[in-house]
Structure formats: C-alpha cells, structure tokens
Symmetry: C2
Subunit: 363 residues, 2 copies
C-alpha cells in the first residue's frame, strides 16, 4: 500500500500512540545502564548495533567463546580487553561494576545456565526468547534472579514496537468489537546446518524459534493465558534439516473469555502476520513481528484501510532502554521471567498435544 | 486496491484462465435443462434470479409449503400453476417431463429426504451444502441416485468462480512452490431466530453453514483428503443464538502430503478468506467465497500484488449450467455426492474431536 493510500480511521488515535510512546522510550537520564552481551552470534550483532539509538543503555562488555569475535566486536564498539570474557571467565563479570545487565543471546539450551550464573554474579538479566527449553528451567531462572535480588526480563521485543503496541491497545479497547478470533502465523524457510536445527541446542524446532511469536501475540493481544491447547505436527523426517526438530506445528488455543486462536508455526514457509477479529471487524499486522517495516490494516464498518503509526524509536533500542529504566527507577519490566514461563507452559502443552494426540487443558 | 494498482505477475496466466472459463461456461445448445427449485427461502430467491444468466438451464417448477410464495415467484418467473408443488404434492413431479433436475435448497435436515424422493421420481438432483446432516444420510443419497440412474451434484458454487479456479490451478502448478500451509477462515455474525440456529433443522452450528467453506477450500486447494483432524469449540451457551448449536469451532487438518491447514469457523465474527502458502510465497483470496467481489493477492519473490481475473459468468449460473451440461453430455459433475460425503466425514471428525478432546485419524 502506498503512502498516498494510507488513511487514519482511528478516532482518538493520539491517545493510543501516547501510550505506545511512553513504553517505548523514557526520558534520557545522566547514568546509562551497562550491558554485557553473552554470545556473539548474528542476533547479538544486530543488538550491539542498536545501542547507538539508546538513551539509557550502553554496551560495556562482551562474552564469547571465539577470541576473534571478542577482538573484532571489542574494537568495533570500543570495549577494552578488560571487559571481554570467555565462557570460562564469565563468572569474573561479578567484579566488573560497569556491567549492570547480562543479556543472554546464546542457543536456547544455554539460557538457563547463563541466567543463573549472571544472577549469582549479582547482575540483572535480559534473556532472549524462548526463555529456556523447559518450564522447569524457567522456574529455576526466576528463582535464581529473585534469590539474588536481581531483575529478569525476556527479550519480547514486539512489546516495544509501536504497531504492536497500537494493536494491543485497540484490541483491549474493543475498537473492532470484543475479540472473538485471533489468527497468528509465523514461519520461515530454515537454512540447514545451524544450531536451531539441533535439538540439543534449540530444545525444539519452529515452535521454539518462530512459532513462539504466534503464541506470544495471542497472549499479549488477549491479555489472557489459554486454557485449552490442541496441536498437529507435520515434519518430513527425510529432510536433513528436520532430523531432530519439528518443521510445522499448527496449534489451536482457547482462552478463558472464549476467544479462539488458530496459529501457524513453520520452518518450511514464510509467515509473519496476525489478525485480531472482533464482532465488528479486524486489526491486522503484516509483517507483524519483523525487525522493521510493520504494516497495519484495519477493517471496520465494511471498509479496509491501512493505518500508519509513527515509529520514534526502534523496538530493539526501546527494549534495551525499557529494562534500563526499570533498573534506574526500581520498577518491574513489562515482560519479566514470568512471561517467558507462561509461554513455555503453553509450548510444552503444544508439544504434548501433538505427541499424544489429545487436547491439553491448562489450569 | 484500486484498478490502477492491479498488476499481472503471473506468467502464462492465459492458460490458467482458459481452464477456468471452460469449466464455468459451456457453449449454448438447443435444449435447456429444466430445474425445479425445492424450498423458496432467501438463497433460493437468489438462485432463481440467476437462470437469466444461464445458457443451458431454465427454471420450470417450484416447490414450497407456502402457497403465497408459489404464487409470487410463479408469477415473477412465469411458472404455470401446473408446475407449482406443495411438499405433499412433491412426488407428482415424476409426471412432469419439463423437470430434469430437482434443486434442493431446504434446511439441511431435509436434504436427504428430498434428494431421495427426487431420485425416486426419476429426477437428477442438485443439493445445497452441507449435503446432509450425517455421513449416513450422504451415503443413502448417493445410493438412491445411483439406484435411480440419476446424477447427483452438491452446490459447491466456489468451484465455478474464476478466482477460486485460478487459485486451485496456481496451487496445483506450484506457482508459489509446493504448498506447505493453508489458512482458511469463514464466519459471520449470525442473526437470531432462524433455522440455522436450530439443531433440529441445521444439524449443527457455524461449521455446517459457513465453516464448511474453510474445510472445502482446503480440500479443493490441495486435491487431498485430510488424515488428521483436531478441533476446539468455543460457544457462549448463555447467548440465545447458541442454545442448540456451536458458535466458534476452529480446526486443524493434516493432509497426506504433509500440508497443514488451520481453519476458522465462526457465528460471531466476520471472516471470508483463505491463503495458500508454499515454499516461495502465497496466494490469497479475500473475500474468497462471497457471492461476488472476490479479490486475489499473490506474494512471490518478496513482492505482494493484487491479481485481477475476468469473470465472464457468475458462479451461480456457472454451477447451474455445469450440471445441465453434464446431463446433456452424459458426463460426471465436478462436485458429485461423493464430494459432499467427503466433507461430511471431516465435519463429523471435527465435531468428535471437539467433543472428545482428541485428534481424530481418518483413513
């Protein structure tokens, strides 16, 4: 849709955006919170580039098992040798007062270990999603951070993305009537030979990596946790990519208010959208959870129109600054460990439903 | 999307459309097949108006329990009193040589009875979907028509609609790569006080009436029958509309080739779309199965574009003339009773899955 075609059909849109903006960026302050990045893979590379957009966050330390990466990124971002750690060295980070937060961007199976070690080192923890590879691990991580008196936040970046924030706000206000159905589809064509495709490191296939966006969206768009879960998996085990993890796993959710969600998770086709359908129309994002380029369409009163939203700050910087603000102000993060745990409970139920061929009821 | 924005991104589109056109309308012939319409409700009213577009079909008789309707529509369409029947009179239709086809547009629970009576009267039968209210009834109807040596076709009008025909053709050709996922959503806000909401007449709720479009689309877009079915129902039984039938019933299907489908069926929100996602992109119709106004978007090579298709003949007239052509030429209908039976088998599995909380396997 071209800019010339975009129209605003939302009455009182300003209010919604004000809410969005207040979550996305807080006022600059004197002190900046120092982040150590653990795991210097591709996503970490993106995150490191985003500190330049931040008001309250700065990159102060690096942790990697690859000396060449420590040197390369250390030089690129001006991180002195004293602030570069190997995994063996990692626990020494407790002695570095510049580090306030350890941001865990490791393969999923390592999230729990490094979150616990970071908490024990007295650091706050930001951990990528999926939070871990089991509910049990999530509980351990939450307990460790609580015991250490440190904050824990999960990297649900979409919560700091203005289109998603507006969709949540409109759904909550019943802009298209009370929500009845949510459809949420996420997937991509997985490239072979990566840790995501090795269950030992990933804990699972498309659901752990990309389907979690469908799941998490249904939860933040409803503000509820599902009470019924049903799933069907489809995996071609002769495809070398899927020797240990699932390809497609579609799932249905029923929420306490009666809302139903139908969700796609795929490692063999591209999907990135959700639609919230109420009694009077729908709100759609496509792409919904990409790094950028979100597009919204709203159908109401029989008309479908695109809806533009200003994006004052990228979602990655918004996420980093949000957690920094929580630490500076002593407030709770929007997406704490409990949020990651809630997703993981449903993920385990989805896998169990697909495996056992039955509907799983969640309390 | 405005006409100026529409583009053709389909190479070899002409071939696809030629296929579509050949199914939608055949060359006019001398003799026209005579239809009797049974049940003069709102949909029948629409159908009666469509004979004016037909080349091989004509309206010759009416059957209703309401004398006023027989008079009103009889006069409107020039049907003489001798060709107007009550339900008690219905079997006398055997003596009317002008009637080739009986088109059953009654409440679902009456489809089987009138199809069998029509076959026994020596008439070919067109029956609205859902074909009946059980697999057992579908089998009885097929057997009755076979025993009478008469043809049976189910009113799956979308098969005669050019956008749907092109979508089928493109999916079959792998225009966006082999199909991996289908999402199909259908629903509307049901008005109270109608036979659709009375299980005695409808046999079920949204699934029987509108969700069947989601189901049937997944079958015609794949050319396969699902082997696994899983469903979750959500019905507010305190809503007077849903005292005896379900509101929402979402379902998942897995097909022999591995394709997964996620489907919405709703009586409390508006949905009319499907999307076929392959490894390289997707083909979407929205609306997909409306009476008119279909719109197609195709995503391929990272671009999303609208796709126009000529509509030389409306789907209703196309359907009527197709069956007339089958009778004139002695060929089999595109959507025979077996097609209705195949849907009904899945519908029964969907209901059973929702009721019993387990995945149903179909042989």
């Amino acid at each position: 849709m071209r800019d010339a075609d975009r129209r605003t059909i939302i009455a009182g849109l300003g209010a919604g955006l004000a809410v969005a903006a207040s979550t996305a960026c807080a006022a600059p302050r004197g002190r900046k919170i120092g982040y150590a990045i653990v795991g210097l893979g591709r996503y970490a590379e993106l995150i490191m580039s985003k500190f330049a957009e931040c008001d309250q966050s700065r990159l102060v330390a690096l942790v990697s098992g690859t000396p060449e990466k420590l040197t390369r990124f250390g030089e690129k971002y001006g991180i002195p040798a004293s602030h570069r750690y190997s995994y063996a060295d990692f626990d020494r980070i407790r002695d570095n007062p510049d580090v306030d937060v350890v941001y865990v961007i490791l393969p999923n199976a390592l999230h729990a270990e490094y979150t616990v070690r970071a908490a024990k080192a007295g650091k706050h923890v930001m951990c990528e999603k999926p939070m871990a590879v089991s509910v049990a691990e999530c509980r351990t991580m939450i307990a460790a951070c609580r015991a250490a008196g440190r904050k824990l936040m999960i990297g649900y970046r979409s919560r700091f993305e203005p289109y998603n924030q507006l969709a949540i706000d409109l759904a909550k206000k019943g802009f298209v009537g009370p929500t009845r159905i949510i459809t949420a589809d996420h997937g991509f064509n997985a490239q072979p030979n990566q840790w995501r495709l090795d269950r030992k490191w990933s804990g699972g296939g498309s659901l752990m990596d990309i389907g979690i966006y469908s799941l998490n969206a249904t939860r933040y768009l409803t503000g509820e946790d599902p009470v019924e879960v049903s799933a069907i998996e489809s995996t071609d085990r002769s495809d070398p990519r899927f020797a240990t993890v699932e390809d497609r796993i579609s799932f249905l959710l029923r929420f306490p208010s009666g809302i139903e969600a139908t969700c796609v998770s795929s490692y063999s086709s591209n999907h990135n959208m959700y639609r919230v359908t109420g009694t009077q129309g729908w709100i759609e994002l496509e792409p919904a959870t990409a790094y950028e380029g979100q597009a919204m369409r709203i159908r109401r009163d029989g008309r479908t129109e695109a809806q533009s939203v200003p994006v004052p700050k990228g979602q990655h910087a918004g996420q980093l600054d949000h957690f920094a603000g929580c630490i500076l102000n002593g407030t709770d993060p929007l997406v704490p460990g409990e949020e990651g745990l809630a997703d993981m409970r449903v993920i385990e139920a989805i896998y169990r439903s697909a495996r056992e061929g039955r509907r799983i009821t969640l309390g």
